[in-house]
Amino acid sequence: MIAEWRWIRADLRARRTQVALTVLAVAGIVAALVTAATLLEEGTNPWRGLFTRGHGAHVWIHTKDTPDTAALRSLGADLAGPYGSAPATLTGNGRKVPVALQEAPATPPEIATPLLTEGRWLDRSDPDGVVVERSFAQALGLRPGSPFTVTGLSGATHALFVKGVAESGDQGFYPEWTPGLAWTLRETLTRVEPAPGRREHVTGLRLADPGDTTLVVQRAVTVLAGQVQRVSTWREARASMELDNRLLGLLLALFGGAGLVGAALALANATGGRVLGQLRDLATLKSLGFTGPQISRMLLAEHGLLGLLGIAGGLTAGHLITIAALRVPPSPAQLGAIALGTILTVLVAVWLPAWRGGRTTPIPATPALPPHGRLSRLARLALLVRLPPALVLGTRDAFTRRVPAALTSVGLAIPMMMITIGLGCWATLDDFTKNPERVGQAAALVVRPGEMTAGEAERRAAADPDVAAVYPGVELDALVPWQTRTVRTRALGTSATPYPFHVVEGRMFRERYEAVAGQGLLDLLSVRVGDRVRLTVGGTPLIVHIVGRVLEPEQDGEVLSLGLDTLAAKDAVPPHFYSLVLRDGADPGEVRARLLARDLEVALAVNPADRLAVIRVIIVALVVVLALIGLANLLTASALGLRDHVRDLAVLQAMGLTPRQVMATLVTGTGLLAVLGVLAGAAAGALLSTALIDLEGHGSGMGAGIGRAPAPAALAAAVLIAVGAALLVALIPARRAARARVPVTAG
């Protein structure tokens, strides 16, 4: 053991820079993975971040009177409040929206802190100011300075205004969670609702262990004996914020896989290169009495240790980065999964070269020499077409050691393939944004009639010059035989004038009792395009013929779409909403503002690409890491190439090749492999990316047909940059070698 450690220590000391680079590369990949996972989690489930940043309360108890705080504290919880709360109605623009006003102190509280995103917090000098919860403010188009006129239960109207907008993890997003929330000072609350009998009190409990929630709720209800009116917990808040989007999860898995492959390549390359470079030393160790398994163990320990150090560093860095950038620590489950995945990858990546090192022959007198002689077919071809001698020699050199040559090409092809797949994802996202109608989002805006009649709302919406078409729609839950759950049925447009769904398989519905469905629904019911399904909508049995498959971004694709005229009149009239298709080039934001001014309730469709925007950051980060891995692979290849040919070089120089020709020989030797690898990787990536993204689309329920190949210009640029960088990397050592004077007899 001591002898092994002595050797490991000496080897690590002898190559400090390389050691640092290896550790950094692994740490970089792990940190990128941790950050990516946390970013994606923030995108899909913002609750954890909001709750952590705001020190949220796990349980909220609504009581008629002020609760016994001492009794609640005795449950082992920190308290927020009790705060007074009163229902009110927000009026303005002809709308009446229920709102819950909740008391808040003038300095933001320690527990259940609303996180200000815009404007300012409440101030005693400005008692008319309120702070509005962000999702509520967004839905109503409220910004700091907007009027916030509320009517209390007494009927009195108070002209307040929005002072700030804040986020909170203590209740779900509007409109999934109603009523909307606004924080006011106590005096403002008392002014709006002077009668104590109409107010209630809310108290937040922050628990040391969230797992105790159910128990604490039961005990609180017992302790407060009959005072409790309502209890909400963090689980409900979290559930209402979760975007049930499997596409994100699948994409994360894809990128996670890419990252792990990257880490494996970086390590296998570093270890493999090192082992190949010290075969003679390993042979000497064997002649001194090291056994093969002992050498394998030693190499595994040394290189595995570097990998583990990198992983530890990466996890720490990822932790710090996410805390600094997102103010949320990564979730322990994710950290655990990433740590486990990378440790396994490291062990596998290091094991093969270590095993190979252990099998070295124990005769150190025969250093690893490349096989000499035979010109490869490619080199013979190069001679036939009368290429310059440097190129021919370089071509020969490229393939003298076939296995390392293949490894070099593959080592570059894999990062390049991953980069191309990344570019494909980018192109797909671009396509989502540019052509939302192709992902099933032809309508940019959805209008709900709200207080006015459906006909009036349709008339007002259609009057806007930028609105090209208005499709009445109804969404209902349908019961499907043999299923314990309901599926979403969306009637939009009529059979004669159907909504422009993007049909990727089969055709659009043209008649009554025809329908189109998302991939998720087809999978759920195990049916195919052309089948008939029986379902019950609003108590009415219905048999529809599925004539096509559409790209369905909502509800994991578990949506059946049909014409309004297919539904019974009682379900279809009046329409619940109108989907507005805008003219080309119209700005949905502007149209929405104009329609809002006409007292309509208008919501912007959420483009899947907006939810996936964070993936672009990850793509860029991954491309950088992959490019670095590719370069590292190339450096090893180039160093090995040089080692193999150093004696040949002396002979070449002696034969009269100029330093420039020697350099060209060396650059051709490495560059040819690099070009082959880059081209193969780009081709494989371009072929795979569309299929892979479609596979992800299929798995997520949205359906195949979303994948786009990388933009030809982007791909061409990536290939050119990769080849250029590869040649440059090959050039530097070649230049140095060509100028060095190598004695022909060097042993």
Binding site: I2, A3, R6, W7, A10, D11, R13, A14, R15, Q278, R280, D281, A283, T284, L285, K286, S287, L288, G289, F290, T291, G292, P293, Q294, T361, P362, I363, P364, A365, G747
Partner: protein, 244 residues
């Protein structure tokens, strides 16, 4: 007492399916404390023979006995363990472990043989002092001259107190002054009772040996004891011997 015996030792390499015999039925014995030189032209199988004796290469057929035990049937790992305790190797190109200091190179076999770090350090200090390399203990191998490197290699081969010291052309890469130094050291070690088998081209090396075994085409063609030619120093025989 016999340290090493071989019976009908054969080594045949395969070169593109064609068998190429390197060693063809070697029978020979080395007694304890004996200094044997193996000579012969290039390609006569000298290096192959000495590699087989140390378990670096495997025999095709025949037997090798070391210290009364048959060792040719050992696995590669068992050979490695045997080398730790009983065999020291010196190579033509020194083969110091490049990333370790001189001190580490010399201590490594001692540590492998199971000595404690303190014992191996003391052994290393003793050996390096004997070879005049004390002040180079913490240098990297690349900083040493060829002669110094070979002296370190010799110290390393002796670190575990081997029963048998095998050397493959130990002076093949050295100038005459360094050759003389290394030979003097080999002589001294031999004087202390070390059993040595050395493969060489060099008549000067052979002149130090008790016995010279000559190989040709993988077979022993001559096995001559040199002891009878030893004369007291300063006599006319010295001149004759040097010229021979």
């Amino acid at each position: 007492m016999t340290v090493l015996t071989t019976h009908n030792l054969v080594r045949i390499y395969q070169n593109g399916g064609v068998p190429v015999p390197a060693v063809r039925g070697v029978d020979f014995t080395v007694e304890a404390g004996e200094f044997v030189a193996i000579m012969g032209p290039s390609g006569s199988g000298k290096s192959t023979l000495v590699h087989m004796l140390g378990g670096l290469d495997v025999r095709t057929s025949g037997e090798i006995w070391l210290d009364g035990k048959r060792v040719d049937t050992l696995s590669e790992s068992a050979w490695a363990v045997l080398r730790r305790r009983k065999i020291g190797f010196v190579f033509q190109f020194y083969n110091l472990v490049t990333n370790m200091s001189v001190a580490d190179n010399v201590e490594l076999p001692a540590l492998l043989a199971g000595m404690s770090p303190r014992e191996s350090r003391e052994r290393r200090e003793y050996l390096l002092a004997e070879l005049g390399l004390t002040e180079r203990a913490y240098a990297a191998p690349a900083e040493l001259s060829g002669g110094e490197q070979q002296r370190v290699a010799l110290a390393r081969a002796l670190a575990n107190g081997p029963r048998l010291l095998l050397a493959d052309e130990p002076t093949g890469n050295l100038d005459s002054r360094n050759t003389r130094d290394v030979l003097r050291l080999l002589g001294e070690v031999h004087g202390q009772g070390q059993t040595i088998v050395v493969v060489t081209h060099d008549a000067k090396v052979a002149s130090k040996a008790d016995r010279v075994v000559t190989l040709s085409d993988g077979m022993i063609v001559d096995d001559a004891s040199m002891r009878r030619r030893r004369r007291p120093p300063g006599s006319a025989g010295d001149v004759v011997e040097l010229r021979g």
